[in-house]
């Protein structure tokens, strides 16, 4: 059976060049960069070379790069770091409703610790209105965080414009560039940001490594305490192989930024066109301001996990929403924020292309998708022509409502019921 991996927004394979470099720093040059002897010096030099590579990709100085264990830690460090460092004078944070859970759940945590959070709406294409940012800023605002490229629907936000507003207001701006880094140009200067999160495993580097850009002079409280690594911003023996892998991945991404995404956009548009030729389908996310590898389509009357399961049976890897929310029970918060009904949101399928995706891969997926949608629709009680149930028949579920008030606020549903491996 053909196997087609269209879930590159969830994670990517590590490139050979990257893996080879990492292997050396695991088995041969395995030193601890804090050590003063030659093993330590070699590890330290490699780490600084990686820092320079990452700095080049982001358009910043090497001294402004702090290595992390990934995108989630980067988002947490940026948001909690600024929030707690400035909490005596500022207790307000502004984020969009379509941020990754690493941002949203950090904000929920902060709400429980004396902070106020404004969650900005988006339009039907998933765009944040910079004017909304301007209006939301108060004298007690310390930080605005709006992601660069959305992980579910691929919409690219107007960060530079938002940055002009935050600069003027003297408020820090963080952007989560986990999905955009290596796919579209990023530059912290041009984007007017003070903090930027990237993650290696989304750009053909290893899981467990990432970086946070911290503009020089930005005050942050560290999350993790211990040795004075990473200029005291991130204690813990540095993950040298991971950092080396991130560095090589960043260098390759930077060098190839012109070629790869162009061909990818063509393939993506072929995929989107094919999916939209299925009746009652709609594209989610902005039609043009969009990451080059992202296709996200909702199909009326069918449910996401069943589509994924059926695709999996024919060797195709896709997801609903993000990798994270694809295993959650709740419909995607991104799609709901964009105004989709819960059932439209539940019926979305995200396919994300990678460096090695071919036209044949796309055509194979399209040949399988139509029959799957038809089969599931034939089974759906929501599809047209199905006999409508009477009001009374929904009573059983209505009865459950009475218990709702007892509930805790539901947390992240990742790894929740809906996600199951077969």
């Amino acid at each position: 059976m053909r196997r087609v991996y269209l879930d590159h927004a969830a994670t990517t394979p590590v490139r050979e060049e990257v893996a080879r470099a990492m292997l050396n720093f695991m088995v041969e040059d395995f030193g601890n960069p804090s050590s003063v002897h030659s093993w330590g010096r070699v590890a330290h030099e490699a780490m600084e070379q990686s820092r320079a590579n990452v700095a080049r990709l982001l358009g910043c100085r090497p001294t402004e790069v702090v290595f992390t264990s990934g995108g989630t830690e980067g988002d947490n460090l940026a948001i909690m770091g600024v929030a707690f460092a400035r909490k005596d004078s500022h207790n307000h944070i502004i984020v969009s409703q379509i941020e990754h859970h690493a941002v949203l759940h950090t904000c929920e945590y902060l709400e429980g610790h004396g902070f106020e959070v404004t969650y900005l709406p988006v339009d039907g294409d998933g765009l944040v209105d910079p004017d909304d940012v301007r209006r939301a800023i108060t004298p007690r605002t310390s930080l605005v965080s709006v992601m660069h490229g959305n992980n579910e629907v691929g919409t690219v936000e107007p960060i530079a414009e938002i940055g002009r507003i935050t600069r003027e207001a003297g408020v820090y701006l963080h952007t989560d560039a986990v999905q955009s880094a290596g796919k579209i140009p990023i530059n912290v200067q041009e984007m007017n940001v003070d903090l930027m999160t990237v993650s290696a495993h989304k750009m053909y580097g290893p899981k467990g490594a990432g970086a946070l850009y911290i503009r020089r002079g930005t005050r942050l409280q560290p999350l993790q305490h211990g040795g004075g690594h990473e200029r005291k911003m991130r204690a813990g023996t540095e993950n040298v192989p991971g950092i080396v892998g991130l560095g090589v991945a960043a260098a390759l991404a930077y060098d190839e930024l012109d070629e790869i995404p162009r061909g990818m956009t063509v393939l993506r548009d072929r995929l989107i066109a094919g999916l939209l030729s299925i009746p009652r389908s709609r594209l989610n996310g902005h039609p043009s301001r969009r990451l080059p590898h992202n296709a996200n389509v909702s199909f009326g009357d069918i449910e996401g996990e069943s589509v994924l399961l059926a695709l999996d049976m024919v060797g195709v890897a896709a997801s609903t929403g993000s990798a994270c929310t694809s295993s959650a029970l709740t419909p995607s918060h991104v799609l709901v924020a964009m105004g989709l009904s819960h059932q439209e949101a539940q019926a979305s399928v995200r396919m994300t292309l990678g460096r090695v995706t071919t036209a044949e891969d796309v055509d194979y997926v399209l040949s399988r998708m139509g029959p799957i949608v038809r089969r599931l629709r034939a089974m759906s009680p929501l599809a047209e022509g199905s006999l409508a149930p009477r009001e009374a028949e929904t009573a059983a579920s209505g009865a459950h409502l009475q218990h709702a008030a007892d509930l805790d606020k539901p947390g992240c549903d990742c790894s929740g019921d809906k996600g199951v491996r077969r």
């Binding site: 996990e305 069943s306 759906s380 009680p381 009573a395 059983a396 218990h403 509930l407």
Partner: protein, 185 residues
């Protein structure tokens, strides 16, 4: 079976579901939304002499929802209405060779929809509605083994629950949001 995986039987019923469809002149029709996830199932019953002569379903839901819908129709076809109501979500899961702990709640959909269909039939025949199906209350609290310990320790937030929260409506574990979606389903 790894607790994270669907059994072959589940996949068989997902890929080749039995009794999919509608019964235009059904004696009872029940539709429910799953309070946990908002997925929806509808069951059609043809009842004659207190016995289920025919049964069909339609399901908008996950793989487990489709598989449990399929197998419950196989199980209850030919049963008396009374016996059918004894079929619990646990029976359904067992018949599928087990469900991952996190998908146990999906099996409620089938038992609930069956009850709703029977009640529809009873209302039409001037009978009173019946409450929870047998075993529903007792068996629905389908957390994994970790929960026993959680209880000992006074429900700490760090241990695994089904989706991190109790999903038993009796225990007040249904997110309002979800219930609302389901109700509007």
């Amino acid at each position: 079976m790894s607790k994270e995986l669907y059994t072959d039987k589940v996949m068989d019923h997902f890929m080749n579901p039995r009794n999919v469809g509608e019964i235009p002149d059904a004696d009872g029709v029940g539709q429910v939304g799953n309070p946990v996830c908002g997925d929806v199932m509808r069951i059609y019953l043809k009842i004659d002499g207190g016995r289920i002569q025919d049964v069909k379903f339609k399901t908008f839901g996950c793989g487990a929802a489709i598989a449990t819908s399929s197998i419950i129709t196989e199980m209850v076809k030919g049963m008396t209405v009374g016996d059918a109501l004894e079929v619990s979500n646990r029976h359904v899961a067992d018949a599928l060779g087990g469900l991952p702990p996190r998908k146990m709640h999906c099996s409620n959909l089938a038992a609930d929809a069956l009850l709703a269909a029977v009640n529809d039939y009873r209302v039409k025949h001037g009978l009173s509605q019946i409450g929870e199906p047998a075993g529903h209350g007792a068996h629905q609290h389908e957390h994994d083994a970790a929960d026993a310990d959680d209880a000992e320790a006074g429900r700490p937030p760090c241990t695994l629950r089904v989706d991190g929260k109790c999903v038993d409506p009796q225990a007040g574990g249904v997110p309002a949001r979800k219930a609302r979606i389901a109700g509007g389903g």
